[in-house]
Amino acid sequence: MTTNGHPEPADRAGRELGPHSGPITEAELLAGIEGDAADRVGSNARVAAMRADRAVLRGLARDAAPDGLLEAALDEALGEIDGDTLRKLGEGTPTSDRLPVSRVLPERFSLVTWLRAHPQRVALAAAAVVVLAVGTMAGLAVRGWLRASPVSSPPIAMEHGARPAAPAESAAAQDPVHAAPTSNQPGEAVIAESTPTDTGEAPGQPDFFAGAKLLAEGRLYVLARGGSSAKVGAALKALTDQRIGPDHSWEIAMGMPGSALASLDLPEIRQPVFASDDTEAVEVILPRRSAWTAKLSATPTALAALVDGLRDAGLEVTLHEVAKPVAIEPRLDADDVLWWSRPPSTWKRTVAAPVVVETLP
């Protein structure tokens, strides 16, 4: 029976073959319909009707594909593939937090290849360059206006308990690892630190304006420290679980290339450290260092948000100047590529800053 409650045509066709035909299979009936076994079943009325049905079906129009079908499909599919690629580029992860620092380099994003893959992108890129040039000129004009304005150039407000910004001498006392041998010596100068104080007062604030300037020049790295493996582990987990700061002000984007890390000229920290809180047994801490890259706008606000994010994760944070720009580029995602589609007020240059996380009491 069919699903409609009618007898199976196979049964009816079989019965109509008559008593001399014997049992007939579906395969034989099919062969009769399609012309391979006409002798056996060809005279059956229902089979003949099904053969006629086939002829009508084969005679139906075979419309040609409409113009532009393939082009539309290519546009859609390649656009989806590009979107996926850009999303993946923005999801690089550091691969190691052990010493010596080693990592698999993330796949490099080649702007030239990306542009060549699609002719329309060249035009888009040209338009973006024009917009960028206009935006830069406007930005310079605004910057000049801001410098001329007394309101725009106050010293950085220091919260109570804060230390003055960028005194290399005080930084040296607080940070023996990155102590500057002389003041204003690029390469190891601590701009200021953001460390919770013992008295519970608000931590000192780095000079974010100076930091943002160095950030734009690629000459800034962020050092974040925790006093125990557990503390740093929890902080790293917090950072990797929620790698994007509020309002996307910063993003922990990927591990850092070894060459870029080497250019920071960080001191070796392989020696074990013995730590005790006076009441418990002495803990042996093996110093560890992991290197990350934060993607953020080169603005004091974004830098402050990054420092706050690291501090909220339980780390002590200092900002450090290096002599030469660190050779890392931010990995672009769809938002970065489409920056021109957002309001002009949000147009900021996106940069990458090294974030070195150490377990070191």
Binding site: P9, A27, L30, L60, A61, A64, A73
Partner: protein, 192 residues
Amino acid sequence: MSRPDPDILRRAQAGDRDALDVLLRPELDRVFATCRRMVGGRQEAEELAQDALVKVIRGLPTYDGRASLSTWMTRVTINACLSWMRSRARHSGRRPISLEQPDTLAGEPGVAPGVQPDEKARLERALDGLKPEHRAILVLRDVRELDYEAIGAALDLPIGTVKSRLFRARAALRVALEEDERAGKPERVEDA
């Protein structure tokens, strides 16, 4: 069964637009014809064909060359069609049959001599009432003119099952046509 040029295939799998064009353009009409006979309406067929082609392009890196490209694309296309038909059935029940204007049928290219527009309309109504699996195998056999082996590859069925299902599909089509004749309303449109 022809295999694509390895260099063209490799470039196409890497997303090279020109290579994709070279590889896919010869298959365009077959993809569209499959969709056209699976869903009936031309506009729906265009959307479905584009969707199927997008799936082909995105899935091309998984094509290993064991089947012919045409067979592999047929499989992707048929799966897209079946998925679309099942989704439509879930969300809106059976759609009203899309009937073309009778006066446009006679002049439509490709209609075999002797096939009357009325016959074609009846056949399309009957096809629309079939289960998607039955419709698919009839389209592959009679519209695409594939042999049993290629149909088996496209539907992932052994040849014995292909023959059995094909016969049952023909039988179901005959029943539907006879019901249509009994109803004697060639211009009717089914309700959902």
